[in-house]
Symmetry: C2
Amino acid sequence: MAPDAQISRLRPGRRTDIRRENERTILDAAEKVFAEAGFGGATMQLIADMAGLPKANLHYYFATKEDLYRKVVQQIFEIWLDAAACFDNAPGPVEGIGAYVDAKMDISRTYPHGSKVWASEVMHGAPVIQDYLETTLRDWTEGRIAVIQRWIDEGKMAPVDPRHLLYLLWATTQHYADFGHQIQTLNNGQPLSDRHWAEAKASVKMIVLRGIGAI
Amino acid sequence: MAPDAQISRLRPGRRTDIRRENERTILDAAEKVFAEAGFGGATMQLIADMAGLPKANLHYYFATKEDLYRKVVQQIFEIWLDAAACFDNAPGPVEGIGAYVDAKMDISRTYPHGSKVWASEVMHGAPVIQDYLETTLRDWTEGRIAVIQRWIDEGKMAPVDPRHLLYLLWATTQHYADFGHQIQTLNNGQPLSDRHWAEAKASVKMIVLRGIGAI
DNA sequence: GTCTATATTTCGATAGAC
DNA sequence: GTCTATCGAAATATAGAC
């Protein structure tokens, strides 16, 4: 009897664990390669090498290159949605938008690859996740616009267009991930330090919160 | 004698005109295809079809796919540099930054493809134009930081970090080009109208100029 | 300077032994 | 579940007639 079969009987969840582990390894490698090369520039061979697996194994876990790509895009989108919780239930813009900027900036630092894959997908016309834009993202946006409008009506901030304020927040926070290479080059080739990131967060919050008349 | 040779002798500049015309046609087509498909996703065949020329002609005017791509990236970079003129010689941030936002927003509307190609190039680590980042862009940035710092010292605006202010301006203005598809989707699938663009400009300028304490 | 035909390479995907 | 070998399609680039 093969050793694998023995272990499989001793630990019934082993087979599922292997699947989950390998899928995680492949997804992480894919996120990096898709971000660095784009969908067209990425090759299954590159992803396989990055994951340390034979190319055929990728096709065993993900039927096609597009399936794998779709999973990568979904990941970053869910991370952003989760981070938006701090936006709601906030008493006013200082707390709500301040916390949202902090969360988005942390994500840009932690998941720069995912942010780039999303940006690339949208830039190319969202061929894979157009339905997300039209349903989940649209609903989320309308909900946050309502919150901002309420703050305006309550006199907690100046009457700026909530939609363009959201665009400014998305653009600025994601810029630190998507254009991270440019920022690093302008920082003498060095990655931003903890202090740099803290300054970036503070600068963005200062300009935005004062810009909307909240402080 | 072939008709071409006749014309060539009657109008000595004809041959150069044909070259310039064809190069322009190919560059325009390439900009669009590179923006929509990325470098890896773009094919010489797609660009040739878009330009209405046989694929072999592209290789006659541009030796390789990468040569053609490099020219496209250089184009948008020069357009942005030209637009920065309004930044200098301005008496203060209201005029200088206000004009810069207007100019960058106009470019985002007029050259959305070029902006996307640039974004894609930087996101992938600037493999082709890294030297531009380290020379021209770095010099340009340092110069504008000095201008902003002078405005701060003269009490014309609040003491915000000039570097992060520039990043916010770049991110926000280019967002309307790079994420134009997302913005259009959130605008009920309709492109932004003249009125929409005017509102976007006004919103950005209002938030930024008030955010830096200039108004 | 133009264009058809093709050489050469590379990629996504699969077959089939283990 | 793993991995080697390979197929068929598609891409870049070029050769050579016109």
